[in-house]
Symmetry: C2
Subunit: 386 residues, 2 copies
């Protein structure tokens, strides 16, 4: 193991924690409030925040309409407001997409470079506008990590990036209350995304990460246990809280110290970059097929996962058969929570195969760590996923 | 769950990470190097650091001889050097005691108040000298948390404190290489301390901390698995690395979000404050007896621990019998790694009972969270521990 761990985000977790805005925002600050669509107006959160900012005599500007797969054009609109109005703090209210877009805005607004060049790392940021986040959807862990994913609406490339320390939020408020109104389908997507992050970190190539593996096993198992309960009882605070905590520890850096294999995410980014399907849906489709394909090259950790997670015994099964059983169990689970498990169900056919393969490699010619994949491998995984 | 999580320490983990000193320390900085006794001179680490600091044209001052239970008098010596020489960075090289003492020095040197008043929180620090740490002994997690424990050699009070954010190290270097020369008995103490931290966090009073519980169970189980292997093969890098990572995640804040019961630590501080026994020894003695006593009041989490950690089945056993079986298993484990399990073995007798009880409550009249304890309870636990 060889890693650097640094995470300066202040996290406020629990009911009523929004009160800390009074402490975190100085009187008279020029604030850009970023959010998605109308949900925060319906549940009263928007009014609550505006009222608090007004009491602090803040100058308030707004960027609304940030898309579920946040687009470069939205990021550019945000940067323009920041530069025109000399914004001093960005306050992102939403889930992964709003916070991710706001991270790109925060560095883009303090740079003369084109923001896409910062995203694809052709240029390097040297400063940022501080970013605070109020999380309304549990999934990505973006509230406490430097990662962001932006889709370029000019060329459909969907690219993940991080610029430490600039893209860490300064503070994040995690009040499970705000996630209670998240509808069923978005909750399902969040569950899949959380499990996927844990799986990607489980498939690290580290040689001495046994404790990390056990934490991942515990977290995935726990998430799979609470998922059906939560989906039967969406208003349950304790279950929302459990999910929020799980996705928070799932991607705050603690479990990534032994590395991780992010191939599934990169293939998914290609798909949702072009077809604009929800990230969680793409992951639910790709994950079991990635697993089946990779099993032909390196089955050991998939076998371990099956034993630890599902208490499967290998008995007389060949490795490859055992791995298929594990992959199939994930497919069954995803079906059981009501999410698509094939690209066809999303209207995506083999006609798009080549463009999806190509779009998986916007920067490098290889993806993955547990097993490295090139275009031919990705083609096979996408074919299986059709 | 209701918590704030903030941990700004930069952690550099792995072989050769000492190279980052070049990045973390500016040319010409006035450095106070703090350490214990001769071990870092024997293993070459001292020479390596001095040579790097000289290349950086640093002005180097030293405070050596910091005791295993660090004393207020050492802290005061360090503060004097810092004030006299306008020290700009404290570089602590050692285990928990050296780093803990350096935390107290770092705030004391920037305050007009008596440092003991800062420790017992009669006064509040407003600044600190930045602290960097090079860890040579895995155990306390102090390398990545704001906690410190200092013994007042005037009145034998041993008090734990934290002043966020001032007592977080700015950076910490965790290279398992430096722990390879740690002798067997100190390694044993570190194992016990690491397990104890995990247990204290397991006995939180949180109502929805199931995932935290599972992480603690995994970590304790893992530590108990690797302990005998490590003690049979003290020079094994991978096992030293595994222990270093376990103690690092054990107390960096991730597992304390649901709370924790630190009564065992507070009772132990009373004992080692007066008798100067190693902290790990005190914990090995107190832990099973705390567990047996607390079982009479609230057995449920001890029962859960026995089932999860040791795969015990309760069968026809009464709760209290089952808990005794769990406590006994810990006692057996501690014996098996060659550490004392009664105060008598350390030469401490019932004559000292009252003073030990009184010394457990230097500030408050109650300790503990899972079960609150007052003087009468602590007396019983100490009697059992004799």
């Amino acid at each position: 193991m060889n890693f650097e761990f640094y995470n300066p985000t202040k996290v406020y977790f629990g009911k009523g924690k929004i009160e800390v805005l009074k402490k975190e925002i100085m009187e008279g600050t020029k604030v850009l409030l970023t959010y998605g669509f109308s949900s925060i107006k319906k549940n009263g959160l928007y009014d609550e925040i505006i009222s608090m900012l007004k009491k602090l005599n803040c100058e308030i500007y707004e960027l609304s309409g940030i898309e579920p797969n946040p687009k470069l054009s939205s990021v550019k609109s945000g940067i323009k407001i920041c530069k025109d109005k000399n914004i001093e703090l960005i306050l992102a209210v939403g889930g992964g997409s709003v916070i991710d877009a706001s991270k790109a805005i925060s560095i883009g607004a303090k740079s003369d470079a084109d923001v896409w060049d910062l995203i694809i790392k052709r240029e390097t940021p040297t400063d940022r506008i501080p970013l605070g986040a109020i999380l309304t959807l549990s999934a990505t862990g973006t509230e406490m990590n430097p990662n962001s994913v932006i889709t370029n609406d000019e060329n459909n490339q969907k690219v993940g990036f991080a610029h430490r320390p600039f893209t860490f939020p300064v503070f994040s408020i995690l009040d499970p209350t705000y996630t209670i109104s998240v509808p069923r389908n978005q909750t399902v997507n969040g569950i899949v995304d959380t499990i996927s992050h844990l799986l990607e970190q489980y498939f690290n190539a580290g040689e001495n990460g046994e404790l990390v593996d056990r934490f991942c096993e515990s977290s995935i198992r726990y998430m799979m246990e609470i998922a059906p309960k939560l989906l039967n009882d969406l208003n349950n605070y304790e279950l929302r809280e459990a999910m929020m905590y799980t996705s928070f520890v799932g991607l705050n850096g603690t479990l990534s110290v032994a590395g991780g294999d992010w191939a599934t995410h990169e293939i998914e980014h290609s798909v949702s970059g072009i077809f604009d399907i929800p990230h969680g849906v793409g992951l639910a489709i790709i994950t079991p097929n990635w697993m089946e394909y990779v099993a032909t090259k390196k089955p050991d950790k998939i076998i371990k996962l099956g034993k630890k997670l599902f208490d499967f015994e290998q008995g007389g099964l060949r490795d490859i058969e055992f791995c298929h059983k594990v992959a199939n169990k994930f497919k069954e689970f995803f079906k059981s929570i009501g999410i698509q498990t094939s690209l066809k169900e999303c209207g995506i056919t083999e006609d798009s195969l080549e463009i999806l393969v190509e779009n998986t490699f916007p920067i490098n010619d290889k993806i993955g760590e547990y097993v490295e994949l090139v275009r031919d491998d990705v083609r096979e995984i996408l074919k299986k996923s059709m």
